[in-house]
């Protein structure tokens, strides 16, 4: 089943942990939409269900009910609609984690090229594709370096390149700026915005980071397992150069 919306659509998503008296409803009918090229923030206190939502979206845990559409394709509708969740994660979803979690025994280029290689692309082609992304993210000069030789900001840019390399319609970023200072955190969000627009990717950024919350045009706040949409500060601030 296809959907004309190529971003992320979540409708009435529920997730229940446990059974009977001990059951806990982590998500109680979440609704969420992210357009291609859009970066939205997902905020909320600890235990509110942010990570559960991210894991459901990432096809890591199975929701209890609801419907999820990624890149125009229904992936969940009262049950998984795709046979190979691993391939779904590889081809349709890019992940950016709190820490970069680069593979320490691969150099920067192969860390990024690994995904297309896993998808069956020839090594040379995968590396070429990875190098182009590294150039776009201004870390191509560190392509042959091992991850431990990179600064925190460089590592996170490489992680973003890895998330984008298979041109997924969706990127899920889990606290991507947590270990970074303000300047680098804002740079990461700027890069995510640029890449989202360049590759028409829908991006959800889960964050607690006060520094970057003002940069979102749209924010979903999650409370007691339900999402509440609100305009972000960036939406209220006029674009530079725009007339008042």
């Amino acid at each position: 089943m296809a959907d004309t919306h190529n971003g992320i659509i979540i409708e009435g998503l529920r997730k229940r942990y446990g059974q009977g008296d001990t059951a806990v409803d982590a998500l109680k009918g979440v609704n969420l939409r992210v357009a291609p090229g859009e970066v939205v923030g997902l905020i909320g206190p600890s235990g509110s269900g942010k990570s559960t939502l991210l894991k459901c979206l990432g096809a890591v845990i199975e929701p209890s009910a609801g419907r999820m559409t990624l890149g125009g394709k229904v992936i969940y509708d009262q049950g998984w609609q795709v046979a190979d969740l691993r391939a779904l994660r590889r081809d349709q979803i890019g992940f950016v984690f709190q820490a970069p979690y680069l593979i320490p025994f691969l150099d920067v280029l192969d860390n990024v090229a690994l995904l297309p290689m896993l998808a069956g692309q020839p090594n040379a082609q995968a590396r070429q594709q990875a190098l182009q992304l590294l150039q776009a993210l201004d870390v191509a000069h560190r392509a042959s370096a091992m991850p431990t030789r990179l600064s925190g900001g460089e590592q996170q840019r490489v992680a973003i390149a890895r998330a984008l390399v298979n041109r997924p319609p969706v990127i899920l970023a889990d606290e991507p700026t947590a270990p970074l200072d303000s300047e680098r955190a804002l740079a990461v969000i700027r890069i995510l915005n640029q890449m989202a627009q360049q590759f028409h990717t829908a991006v959800i950024v889960v964050t607690h980071d006060e520094k970057i919350i003002p940069t979102f045009k749209r924010i979903y706040q999650i409370r007691d397992g339900q999402t509440h949409e609100q305009p972000g500060q960036a939406a209220l601030t006029p674009e530079p150069g725009a007339s008042a």
Partner: protein, 407 residues
């Protein structure tokens, strides 16, 4: 697709190399143990080869001369030699003892050597029992006081050794002439060997003569020649341990052995029968002992590989979770772990084979490292590594990709 295992090994090569070194020493011990067993079997076979015999004739109902004691009349070989199908027959005696070097001043050295003394008939080279090849010197040609010694005794040409009462000069040096127990052989003339084996000490001879003199039947004045004849008989030692028989060309060993058993009332063993006695019976307990060691070493090796691979894998939980989250197949992760285990096994095997090759010659007994055993060892190491990696694979496949996502 790049080799994740290869990249990990290159990244942490020190860890792999040093772990492989430790494992290699263990594999080296295992290969050496197998070599010790092969050496024992080979010692048994060269013992038979060196005897130059096709048949071994020994005392009836014994499995001599190597596995059990056997005593035969020294004249029996003549009647054996006359039997159909027999080309040559010669007496032989075997006696394991400590021999001492004689220093230039006539004193004996404190450093004695354990050796098997072989008494061979002084009928010249080619006679069954003589060493077939010499490294240096010549074969025994005189009837007394010459010796040919295996090179592993450390004796050199011209050196003198004391065996019981007599002093012998080393005239030849042989190689790989050892007993089934691995003791080097020293060949001496048969008469000397009989004396060394059977001659009593002086006090015992005097007591025996006195006892004989006191016997009125043997010391009868009416028969003055009887007592010296009896005493001479008592001082003789007309016994040997075995008769080595060479067959005439075209003769069937079983057909020749059968009449010897039936008409001479002796035991006669063919080469396969003698190999059965030496390999399957004489060294059977030692072989089982070594087999037990090999099993224990294999289990210890497997446990070590399993522990190392498990530890290495558990050190990469987060990376494996990330790999699974971004879509790496389980078989790719399992292959990475198996390849690392196999690589560790290969490093260990190369180290083990190398150290075993270097330290084997230093062993006091012969250690035979056969290429076929090395191949079997390599296969066993690979199988052990693959099996040992199962625990780590199981743990890796249980890692939840959600661990890469916080919360």
């Amino acid at each position: 697709m790049i080799s994740l295992a290869g990249r990990d090994i290159l990244h942490a090569w020190g860890k792999f190399v040093f772990t492989g070194l430790g494992l290699g020493l263990l594999i080296g011990v295992t290969l050496t143990m197998a070599g010790v067993y092969r050496g024992m079997v080979d010692d048994a076979k060269v013992l038979l080869d060196n005897s130059g015999a096709d048949l071994w004739v020994v005392q009836q109902d014994t499995q001599g001369p190597y596995a059990e004691s056997s005593s035969l009349d020294a004249d029996l070989y003549r009647s054996i030699r006359a039997m159909p199908g027999v080309a040559r027959a010669a007496n032989v005696t075997y006696l394991t003892m400590q021999i001492r070097r004689v220093l230039p001043g006539g004193q004996t050295s404190g450093n004695d050597v354990r050796a098997m003394i072989v008494g061979v008939a002084a009928d010249g080279p080619g006679t069954p029992g003589h060493p077939r090849f010499l490294l240096a010197g010549r074969q025994l040609v005189r009837g007394h006081y010459e010796a040919v010694a295996d090179v592993s005794t450390g004796l050199q040409l011209g050196e003198r050794i004391r065996i019981r009462r007599q002093v012998y000069t080393v005239v030849g040096v042989s190689r790989r002439t050892v007993s089934s127990g691995g003791d080097p052989m020293v060949f001496i003339p048969l008469k000397d060997a009989q004396q060394a084996q059977f001659l009593k000490d002086n006090d015992a001879i005097v007591r025996q003569r006195t006892r004989t003199e006191r016997n009125p039947v043997l010391n009868n004045p009416a028969q003055p020649g009887l007592l010296p004849a009896v005493q001479a008989l008592q001082d003789s030692y007309p016994y040997v341990n075995a008769i080595l028989v060479q067959l005439a060309p075209g003769s069937d060993p079983d057909n020749v052995a059968e009449p010897i058993r039936r008409w001479k009332r002796l035991s006669a063993y063919t080469r396969p029968q003698m190999e059965e006695i030496l390999v399957a019976k004489l060294i059977a307990t030692s072989a089982r002992q070594i087999g037990m060691f090999l099993v224990i070493l294999a289990i210890v090796s497997a446990a070590i590989v399993a522990f190392i691979i498990y530890t290495l894998t558990m050190g990469k939980i987060r990376e494996i979770a990330v790999l699974k989250l971004i879509g790496t197949r389980n078989r790719t992760i399992a292959a990475m772990i198996v390849q690392q285990a196999v690589a560790l096994g290969l490093i260990g095997f190369v180290v083990g084979k190398t150290v075993a090759t270097f330290w084997a010659p230093a062993f006091p007994k012969y250690v035979l490292l056969e290429p076929a055993d090395a191949v079997r060892g390599l296969v066993a190491v690979m199988v052990i590594c693959i099996v040992a990696s199962a625990l780590a694979i199981r743990a890796a496949l249980k890692i939840d990709p959600a661990e890469a996502i916080g919360g």
